[in-house]
């Protein structure tokens, strides 16, 4: 008599169990990336919020050797659920090799995604019209660091245009000091600072964003007038006597992280080693501890000067992008969270956070640091106006963007302005 009851009970548990499969409690999702240190702490705080809300155990592991490790993992098939690459070019590369899942298969609303992160950013993670990459954080490169107190004491005004900057530089030289800090040594990546300068100049000369986009695909050759002109302007900074503290030797020998140190150090006459340093938003992490405390107040930024005033104000930046390796239910849920406006909030409130959300709907007032509010506003404004552009060298084929472009910029720094033509030709030749 009891048997049918038992059977019914068993059936019921089976059915319930099957339905209960909808809960993702306890599922594990792994993310790997190149963020380490403070950035890793911030990212972990962000994903901890996902775990809290959904019960999915999301873990992030950063490694300073990430890009090599993920290559090997992709070769062997032992991939994490998500990889957060420091540059979108790697996402495209992985997608072309068939490693990544399109965002459409992750049930992402693509139109909303495009309007939140700007169609330009989304386009960077797109292969043949299929969107693979999810934008995450952005950083700003179009800024020049300076110390307002030193400027005021000498009656210098913040330059708004290139000509004003050159005039200021000449004035500083005539007063026996050096205007610029410039160091582009970087273990295995030396030269990228000069490519950043080139990109900032490119965005502000020629046809602005339009010629910039053509340049990225080599439709506009390096040997063209626009690019050669950009190199000439850069060479003006690098090679004018006394413009850069330490001269050519300092440019090629100084580790980029230490390049700004002369600004914080006074010589025998009480003058700083330099007054202006064009470097991205992440640089304060490399400053001496005493200087770090004054970021945003004692040492702050002005936007990279306008060169051609008829062009819209552009911003050059970098940013990371993730790709998903599968379309499990838990992966879909986490992807949704990664693209939400509130994703970056826990990290933004951390005292040492240096990462800025690339979501145009992000509330910039939430950043706990003054400098992040300034930078975040520039980024979201530029994104909303579609005048934000990614680092061109990151978007070029690696042989160029991480090879000949860097290398020839180093050569240019050593050889002087007479080398510009050769450098441009060599880069064009190395284009695959």
């Amino acid at each position: 008599m009891k048997k049918p009851l038992l059977v019914a009970f068993l059936l019921l548990t089976l059915i319930l169990g099957a339905c209960g499969g909808g809960s993702l409690e306890g599922e594990e999702v792994t993310i790997t990336g190149a963020l380490i240190g403070e950035d890793q702490e911030g990212f972990r705080a962000n994903i901890a919020a996902i775990t809290e809300e959904t019960g999915i155990i999301v873990t992030y592991q950063g490694s300073d050797n990430f890009e090599q490790e993920i290559q090997i993992q992709m070769e062997s098939g032992d991939t994490p659920d998500f990889a957060l690459w420091p540059q979108p070019g790697a996402v495209v590369d992985a997608a072309k090799r068939g490693m990544l899942t399109p965002l459409e298969d992750l049930d992402i609303d693509l139109d909303e995604y495009k309007s939140n992160f700007s169609s330009y950013l989304v386009g960077l993670g797109t292969v043949d019209g299929v969107i693979y990459g999810g934008a995450n954080a952005a950083n700003l490169k179009s800024i020049v660091w300076y110390q307002p107190a030193e400027f005021e004491a000498r009656g210098y005004a913040v330059p708004n245009t290139w000509d004003e900057m050159i005039a200021l530089a000449d004035q500083i030289v005539s007063e026996g000091m050096n205007p610029f800090c410039f160091g582009m040594y970087s273990n295995g990546a030396s030269g990228w600072l000069a490519t950043d300068w080139m990109e900032d100049i490119m965005l502000r000369t020629g046809e602005g964003v339009t010629s910039y986009d053509k340049w990225v695909t080599n439709e506009l050759k390096f040997a063209s007038d626009t690019v050669t002109n950009a190199a000439t302007l850069l060479s003006q900074i690098m090679h004018t006597d006394n413009y850069v503290v330490g001269g050519t030797d300092a440019i090629v020998s100084t580790y980029f992280g230490n390049a700004q140190d002369p600004m914080f150090s006074k010589d025998a006459n009480g003058n700083p080693g330099c007054f202006m340093h064009r470097q991205a938003s992440f640089i304060p992490a490399f400053w001496p501890e005493a200087a770090q405390a004054g970021v945003g107040v004692e040492t702050t930024v002005f936007p990279f000067p306008v060169i051609d005033e008829s062009l819209p104000k552009a911003a050059l930046g970098g940013g990371d992008m993730w790709g998903a390796f599968n379309d499990r239910e838990a992966t879909k849920v986490v992807a949704e969270y990664l693209l939400s406006a509130s994703f970056h909030e826990p990290a933004a409130q951390q005292p040492n956070n240096a990462r800025l959300s690339a979501h145009t709907g992000f509330n910039n007032d939430l950043y706990s640091k003054d400098i992040n509010r300034i930078l975040g506003t520039i980024i979201t404004d530029a994104l909303a106006a579609d005048a934000f552009r990614f680092d061109a060298s990151d978007l070029m084929p690696p042989e160029v963007g991480a090879g000949s472009f860097w290398k020839e910029m180093m050569n240019l720094a050593v050889e002087g302005p007479g080398y510009i033509g050769t450098a441009m030709d060599n880069i064009d030749k190395s284009w695959p």
Partner: protein, 408 residues
């Protein structure tokens, strides 16, 4: 009778395939499947813990099983089979982890960057025409010649001189040997501090630049004397130099004295300073090793021969040249061979210091760059093959010498 031997041969063959091929294969497969299943059940940490005892038990059982199977074979052929049993697994392992990858690398070097299509010799043409590759090969040649020669010469001199010491020989030898105990990464980090450059007016923390900028009157490496600050940004002071970024001598003051245009000074101006400075690290690391090995060789020279030389009135240098060097010739060849292979594999010094920037690259770093930085598997494999080709004469030479030794 003939029928019998044929049968015996067949039986032997069956046993040996069973014992040396089918059984180990089955055994390895079952182990692989077991571990694959285990990774699903237990966490990684536990897996590592059980993998070590379980793995060694597997190997133990593998040999017991093979031995049991061999015991079925007739007595007279058992010896041969047992020998094969012990050599077999290592040949298998070498084949799987060394030979197979080498062959595959060679195969991939003829394919394109994604290893999809055959491109013929395109990658090899690139390897000998690309400007950066030519510089890399040039550096590798300089390293091979200079590092091996310098290590051998300095090692010989140190080994010979320490041997002449009455007291404290082991103390001096251990001091010279000590760099060998440091990893190449650590040694490079030490030398990076020696060559370090900071833009003025920062304090120079590299010892060479520190000494340079404090030369001359009123030049100080940022010191405060009697409350007064003294720096080195005066025009009369020597400017610091970024040593590891100097591709030639042209940026150094010495270049001015070499501007006479003769071919000798032209060659001298083109000295790759950074490459030479990086080679110093390797010479510093391996001199001690060479010296200790040579010193052991010198100790083995019979005292009578040395005495005979001394009685005949030969000078120290003459004894060194005519007795010591010929006597330890084989040791020199062995150390030289070891150094050649070490230099060809040299990777960490470049990777940690300049990462190949400004014409300091070596083949091993280039191979990794092509793989992970430019993601070009074809070119990366080609560089690997080139390294292998360079090592080949050394391997063959060593093998030939070993055979000669066995013959005599």
């Amino acid at each position: 009778m003939k029928q019998n031997t044929q049968e015996k041969k067949l039986f032997n063959f069956g046993i040996s395939t069973l014992a040396l091929a089918i059984f180990p294969l089955f055994w390895f497969l079952s182990q692989a499947i077991l571990f694959r299943e285990l990774t699903e059940i237990v966490t990684r940490n536990v897996l590592v813990l059980i993998a070590i005892p379980l793995g060694s038990t597997f190997i133990f059982l593998l040999f017991i099983g093979m031995n049991k199977l061999i015991n079925f074979a007739p007595k007279d052929s058992r010896d041969v089979l047992e020998a094969r049993m012990f050599v077999g697994p290592s040949i298998f392992m070498i084949g799987l982890f060394l030979f197979y990858p080498a062959v595959r690398t060679f195969y991939l070097s003829f394919k394109d960057r994604y290893s999809n299509d055959f491109v013929g010799f395109e990658n090899y043409v690139w390897a000998v025409t690309d400007a950066e590759m030519i510089t890399t090969i040039r550096n590798q040649v300089i390293w091979l010649i200079a590092v091996v020669t310098l290590t051998l010469i300095v090692g010989l001199i140190v080994g010979w001189l320490t041997d002449r010491l009455n007291k404290g020989e082991s103390f001096f030898k251990s001091i010279v040997f000590m760099p060998m105990a440091i990893s190449a990464v650590g040694a490079t980090a030490i030398f990076k501090f020696i060559y370090e450059y900071r833009p003025p007016p920062l304090t120079q923390i590299g010892i060479i630049n520190g000494i340079r900028v404090s030369k001359g009157d009123n030049c100080y490496n940022n010191r405060i004397i009697d409350g007064e600050f003294y720096g080195f940004d005066d025009a009369s002071c020597v400017a610091p130099v970024g040593w590891l970024q100097q591709r030639d001598l042209s940026a150094l003051p010495i270049a001015e004295t070499l501007q006479d245009g003769s071919w000798l000074s032209n060659m001298f101006v083109n000295l790759p300073v950074n490459t030479l400075l990086l080679m110093v690290i390797m010479v510093w690391m391996y001199t001690g090793f060479a010296a200790v090995v040579f010193s052991a060789g010198i100790k083995a020279i019979p005292a009578e021969i040395m005495e005979a030389g001394q009685i005949d009135g030969a000078s120290e240098i003459r004894i060194f040249r005519s007795i010591v060097v010929p006597y330890i010739k084989s040791t020199i060849v062995v150390v030289g061979t070891y150094m050649v292979v070490t230099v060809l594999k040299a990777f960490d010094i470049i990777y940690v210091s300049t990462r190949g920037d400004l014409e300091t690259n070596l083949l091993a770093v280039k191979m990794l760059d092509e793989f992970s930085k430019y993601r070009n598997f074809g070119r990366s494999s080609t560089v690997a093959v080139i390294i292998f080709i360079c090592v080949l004469p050394v391997i063959i030479g060593t093998a030939l010498r070993e055979r000669d030794n066995l013959d005599s």
